[in-house]
């Protein structure tokens, strides 16, 4: 079983490494123009030797676009998830560990955010702050925060009742130190798992947002934007969806497999 798990983890790590390499090296190896260069003779050309992954509606090479889009997509997704962690972690931790009135107030706030449509949030951010990548990250990050806060609160609540927390308290550890030393490390596995899932959602969220004008601005490439652009041509040029779709799928798969391994790495018990 372990061998199986290790192989799985290895596949995950390899996948992620390849994706990371593509994100980092892609823009160095491939001229940035390659993603936007158009060829009107070859609009929606199916995959071929000249265009490995075919072309889109403007005759742009999908292979170059998907590779040069990697970095943008990952940057957006990772930043948004990091932002949601930065916001959601303290919220959930404090709420779950301290409980009582603070918990009640914070959770009502989280409920409000949860019930508040992400669409309205995105539209407002786009309209008030303007459509660009930073604001896209804010929109996704803020939208994800309540979910994360909820999950972290649940975990913190569970950990706060563990005897080692009681032991720490009885040996005079302050609440802040208990949260830092005891609660935080023990909720990290849940945070990691949630983050890997959130990353996938964040990549796709960008696709949805570019529908509203937020997200990567064309003609720059990102997976989300490419997926969104495939919407009207799925029946005649399925590769326009499948190419970025597979990129997302592989990333998600890699993250998932890696997530399990990462949990094991972080968990001293599994060493």
């Amino acid at each position: 079983m372990k061998r199986f798990k290790t192989t799985k983890g290895l596949i995950g790590i390899v996948l992620l490494l390849v994706i990371l390499l593509v994100a980092i090296l892609g823009p160095m190896v491939i001229p940035p123009d390659a993603a936007t260069a158009m060829d009107m003779r070859a609009r929606r050309a199916p995959p071929s030797l000249t265009h490995f992954f075919g072309t889109d509606q403007l005759g742009r090479d999908m292979f170059y676009r998907v590779i040069l889009g990697t970095r943008t997509s990952l940057e957006i997704a990772v930043s948004a998830v990091v932002m949601s962690i930065v916001l959601g972690l303290p919220l959930g931790l404090i709420s779950g560990y301290l409980g009582g009135l603070i918990d009640n107030v914070l959770m009502r706030l989280v409920d409000t955010l949860l019930a508040f449509p992400a669409l309205l949030l995105a539209l407002t951010i786009s309209a008030v702050l303007g459509p660009n990548i930073q604001n896209t990250i804010i929109a996704i990050g803020v939208a994800f925060t309540p979910y994360l806060a909820r999950i972290i609160r649940g975990e913190a609540l569970r950990v706060a009742q563990m005897p080692y927390v009681e032991a720490a308290r009885s040996s005079g550890t302050t609440d802040i130190m208990i949260m830092w030393r005891h609660v935080l490390p023990n909720i990290m596995p849940a945070v990691i798992v949630q983050s890997t899932i959130s990353l996938a959602f964040a990549i796709l969220a960008e696709a949805g947002l570019s529908f509203l004008g937020l997200g990567t601005q064309p003609p720059a490439a990102s997976w989300g934007l490419m997926i969104q652009a495939s919407r009207d041509q799925l029946d005649i040029a399925p590769w326009t969806a499948l190419v970025p779709g597979m990129a997302v799928a592989l990333t998600v798969l890699g993250l998932n497999m890696f997530g399990d391994v990462l949990r094991d790495i972080l968990d001293p018990r599994a060493k």
């Binding site: 060829d39 529908f211 004008g213 937020l214 003609p219 009207d232 041509q233």
Partner: protein
């Protein structure tokens, strides 16, 4: 390398612009006797909103309501104003009095017979700011609507308003509603049109049924169901599976594909609208004519049309209705000359790489986004860095249209054949739609002069001069007329009659379904 290929090839591939053309089956049976009966299921591309003809500014609602209402005057194929609900009209030589003789025995859907009182009611309702009518300014100079008898309407103007009649023939302003029907028009529209309103399920379907007492004779169809399907792929699928008889607005990139399908009819026509690229004249670089002209020179309009519209349009340098007298035949789009543009920009003080322009495009028109993306490539070659910002329709309207907070953008307008409305409101420095803040004394003079010029030929000349001035100064970069498109099952007959001469409205009065 690729870019050069792109340029060469798009020009090579270009065909000639498509005028009105219906690809076959229907033409073969055009002589058949129309059959009565059947319900036409129309896949409508947009959502119908408020059903009050006066309050409706959106094309989607207008497209439907066109079948429910009749207008006092309308236009023929050549865009001449002709009588509608009136038998005749007369304009006093001083241009201050209009007299309409109404048709006798015109029935409204509620069974009432139209009288002058209904006309008076409708016009005054539209004029009243409290109604919130979109076209209320058509009646700006109207001092009084008088009804000497049941079939005569006399309109007194406080000042000459040459375009008044044409404006009445346009969307909405000239429709006649029964007295006191105003409050219910929004939910239960009623007029004297060929179809009666049956029901509207918001966002899903508008149902209309034949009005047997229609003054031009009853329609062939028993009923029309306008199903609202905004997603292009879904609409296409509905047509292909036979769930829909007809769809409007075939995505431009799919027209060729459908035309190739022998089992379907495709009808394209132009102009549906014209598009132009706007430069904000308060933005420092665009104050310099050389920059504007250089920008015009960067763009290859034919290639752009092929790229963004998939060839479904025709380039133009004039926004006038192509068959109208005012259309300046002498104007041609500036040819692409990137080196020349570079030189001109350098001369204006903007050497390569020094101009960074934000191009705001609205997601409401996907082909605007495509246009912008193609522009980015050319502008890059000319050393101008163009960045796209996508805006929702609401944001575009508030940022570009109202607040004039943009550098460069593009927009389309339904091609208005009434020149005064077009040139005065869009290019006169005091024009209501001058969102580029253009301030050109020559245009101001010309457009003012046209208003008081009675002779039609003379007026047309003035407007041609306006077009010349717009082109010379490159106030805006006029791109093209875009095609309108309809796709239909072979059984749908009389498709030629569907499109209103103004290019945007659909009327099903003479459409029929072959068994």
């Amino acid at each position: 390398m690729k870019r050069r290929d792109f340029l060469r090839n798009t020009t090579a591939v270009l065909g000639s612009g498509v005028f009105m053309g219906a690809s076959l089956p229907s033409a073969l049976f055009a002589q058949e006797t129309p059959a009565t009966g059947g319900t036409l299921i129309w896949g409508h591309s947009e959502t119908t909103q408020n059903l009050d003809m006066h309050q409706t500014g959106t094309a989607s609602s207008g497209r439907v309501l066109q079948n429910i209402h009749s207008s006092i005057v309308t236009v023929d194929k050549d865009l001449n104003v002709i009588p509608g609900l009136c038998e005749s009209f007369e304009v006093a030589p001083d241009g201050l009095t209009y007299t309409f003789k109404l048709r006798a025995g015109v029935k409204f859907h509620n069974g009432a017979t139209m009288t002058a009182a209904d006309v008076k009611y409708s016009f005054e309702r539209c004029k009243d700011p409290a109604t919130g009518a979109v076209n209320f300014e058509v009646f700006n100079n109207v001092a009084a609507v008088e009804t000497p008898d049941d079939l005569t309407v006399v309109i007194k103007m406080s000042a000459v308003n040459a375009p008044f009649l044409s404006r009445l023939a346009e969307n909405g302003a000239g429709v006649v509603m029964p007295v006191d029907s105003g409050p219910t028009q929004g939910t239960n529209p009623m007029g004297a049109g060929p179809f009666k309103f049956v029901s509207y399920e918001v966002g899903t379907v508008v149902k209309m049924a034949r009005f047997d007492d229609y003054w031009e004779g009853p329609s062939y169809l028993d009923a029309v169901e306008a199903r609202e399907i905004t997603e292009p792929t879904t609409r296409l699928t509905g047509l292909r599976t036979g769930e829909l008889h007809m769809i409007n607005d075939i995505p431009l990139d799919r027209v060729g594909e459908l035309q190739a399908d022998a089992g379907l009819q495709v009808k394209t026509w132009f102009p549906l609208n014209f598009d132009f690229i706007n430069m904000n004249h308060t933005f420092e670089p665009f104050k310099d004519k050389r920059v504007r002209v250089a920008f015009d020179m960067i763009i290859d309009k034919e290639a752009l049309m092929e790229g963004a519209l998939w060839g479904q349009g025709a380039t133009t340098a004039s926004p006038s209705f192509p068959t109208s007298a005012a259309y300046n035949q002498g104007l041609k789009p500036r040819a692409q000359d990137i080196e020349g543009a570079k030189a001109m920009l350098a001369e204006a003080g903007y050497p390569e790489g020094s101009l960074n322009i934000v191009f705001k495009a609205t997601t409401n028109y996907p082909y605007h986004i495509e246009t912008a993306q193609i522009l980015v490539e050319w502008f890059k070659m000319a050393g101008v860095n163009l960045t796209i910002e996508q805006l929702t329709w609401a944001d575009w309207l508030s940022q570009c249209w109202v607040d004039k907070d943009y550098q460069m953008t593009m927009m389309n307008f339904f091609t208005l054949w009434e020149s005064d409305f077009l040139y005065f409101s869009v290019w006169n420095s005091t024009g209501a739609f001058n969102y580029r803040a253009i301030n050109d004394p020559i245009i101001d003079d010309l457009t003012a002069k046209a208003r008081i010029t009675v002779d039609d030929a003379e007026r047309a000349k003035i407007y041609q001069a306006v077009q010349q001035q717009i082109w010379d100064e490159a106030h805006d970069i006029v791109l093209w007329f875009r095609n309108g498109t309809i796709g239909a099952q072979p059984a749908v007959m009389g498709l030629d009659t569907v499109v209103h001469p103004n290019g945007s409205n659909l009327n099903f009065h003479k459409v029929w379904l072959k068994a």
